[in-house]
């Protein structure tokens, strides 16, 4: 069962990485095929496991400020900034649709 172009497009949107070429799509197909082996296992009545430490209480520390004031250090690694702001291009503009995007999936 091949993954539809709609789903591939949807994945590129969600992941914000592209399949690049047919190899990329093939890679996903193989990954799904491989994962399908999971269905050979009977998991009736089995609870999903989030963490091997599930029997322990998560450590919660006191809500006290113990460090901070490192604005300069944190801004150091950003390429675009203005005063104490990280600068991003305009938001609220969705990624271009499949037909307009520069993606391998076009014409699929």
């Amino acid at each position: 069962q091949k993954v539809s172009v709609e789903v591939l497009d949807h994945l590129e949107h969600l992941a914000l990485v592209d399949f690049r070429d047919s190899e990329g799509v093939e890679r996903l197909q193989k990954a799904i095929q491989f994962a399908d082996h999971l269905h050979e296992v009977n998991t009736d009545g089995v609870e999903p496991m989030d963490s091997v430490l599930e029997d322990r209480c998560l450590y919660l520390r006191e809500d006290d400020v113990t460090e901070g004031n490192c604005t300069k250090d944190l801004l150091e690694n950003a390429r675009e900034k203005v005063e104490e702001y990280f600068v991003a291009p305009p938001g609220n503009i969705p990624l271009l649709k499949l037909e307009e995007r520069d993606t391998f999936l076009q014409g699929s």
Partner: protein, 526 residues
Amino acid sequence: AALKDGLRSQVSAALKEGRVTPTELCQRCLALIKSTKFLNAYITVAEETALKQAEESEQRYKRGQPLGILDGIPIAVKDNFNTAGIETTCASNMLKGYISPYNATVVQKLLDQGAVLLGKTNLDEFAMGSGSTDGVFGPVRNPWSYSKQYKEKSVPKSHSEDEESNWVITGGSSGGSAAAVSSFTCFAAIGSDTGGSTRNPAAHCGVVGLKPTYGLISRHGLIPLVNSMDVPGILTRCVDDAAVLLGSLAGHDPKDSTTIQDDFKPFELPNLTDVSKLSIGIPKEYHVPGLSSEILALWSKAADLFKNAGAKVVEVSLPHTRYSIVCYHVLCTAEVASNMARFDGLEYGHRSDKKESTESMYAATRREGFNDVVRGRILSGNYFLLKQNYEKYFVKAQKVRRLIVNDFIKVFRSGVDILLTPTTLSDAAPYMEFIQEDNRTRSAQDDILTQAANMAGLPAINVPTALSERGLPVGLQFIGRSFQEKQLLTVAKWFEKQIQFPMIQLEEVKRCDNYVFQHQKSASSS
């Protein structure tokens, strides 16, 4: 002291007595790093800061106030740990030029004890891989490729085609760290282990690789791959040294809420002489197709070794072993999809020039920054996390995970103390052969024996066992109960002493090391 010496027994004493100074040690390691540059084990060598740290250590020794065993000891750290002021790249274009503003907890702990940080070691991009071949700085070469032992056994196809095409991989993804320890450029190195990334290269490079219990050592500052399975790994030349490192790194960290709060007491390993109370389990499912006959024979020999020494050796069953790789594949890609979302170019790392919209900038940044392997895992992970797939794949994998964990619980409850298994399917493959298959296939093959320990969060260690017919190292793995590192390492040390794994014979090291070449196999000979 020679570069080959064990930490606790020789080097520490030598430093205290002034027979060698931290500066000398540091300089010798730096020189050796330079002369073994072809191994490509290091991405960044922090020469200036290392020498400064060595100098400070020397002052402490002069005052008779060393901070501990690790004071003045040269260490290397895998390049997916944050190191303040030093570039941390994860061998990816995404983080090229990224200078960490802070130290990972394990790094801070090492520095607080006076260790000398020599540099950052090479790895597969974002620790995804089992060969240390898929990073942007190129593959790491296994030092054993240049050893007398390997050269003697290899048949040169033609005179020109000798070392250049014959070299073997280190395994991965902590290949740089393993190569660094194996080639004596540092006394210990930090790696990470999510599916076997510390034990696999340890086996191929003939060094001790310890994966501690999940929750014992802080992951704060380790750039995460799979939050529920990642652990910092320890690579050393002998089991005693691994215990020393463990002692200095383990313990609760308020900055990592997944570290357990129990008190951790560092320990010295006893010299076990009586193994009659020990029960060793041999999981039959680890006899996988593809396991080389050589390793099978070694595994059998090791089991006999324990039996003949009086230990109880029993065959056990971990029935869901063969699903652990598939389970890992789904859980890993899912967590990766989430963890890699932070790389968008805004706050750190590579940023694309695209300005039209946030989304298009993110997409272009990630397109430019990640290699195929990383992108592949992100896309697969996102697929398994889609609403229509979530139950079917992600939750299903979480259920299978519980079954795998239960297998181990059952076996340990039946009275088995330690499990003995192979670490890898074979000795290190030549690079040219390894790259014939893609990363995912290789990882699926190579992680098969190491992965389940990560699934269950159990401690596991690779102990170099013997040389293969090709003159390359082969190791065996011991898996212990959660948080029972002392028992695990005690048994591993006993085993190490019985087998006396040969030392690598490298030209470069002979030249660099001025002192008498001691045939030192383990540090416990004192």
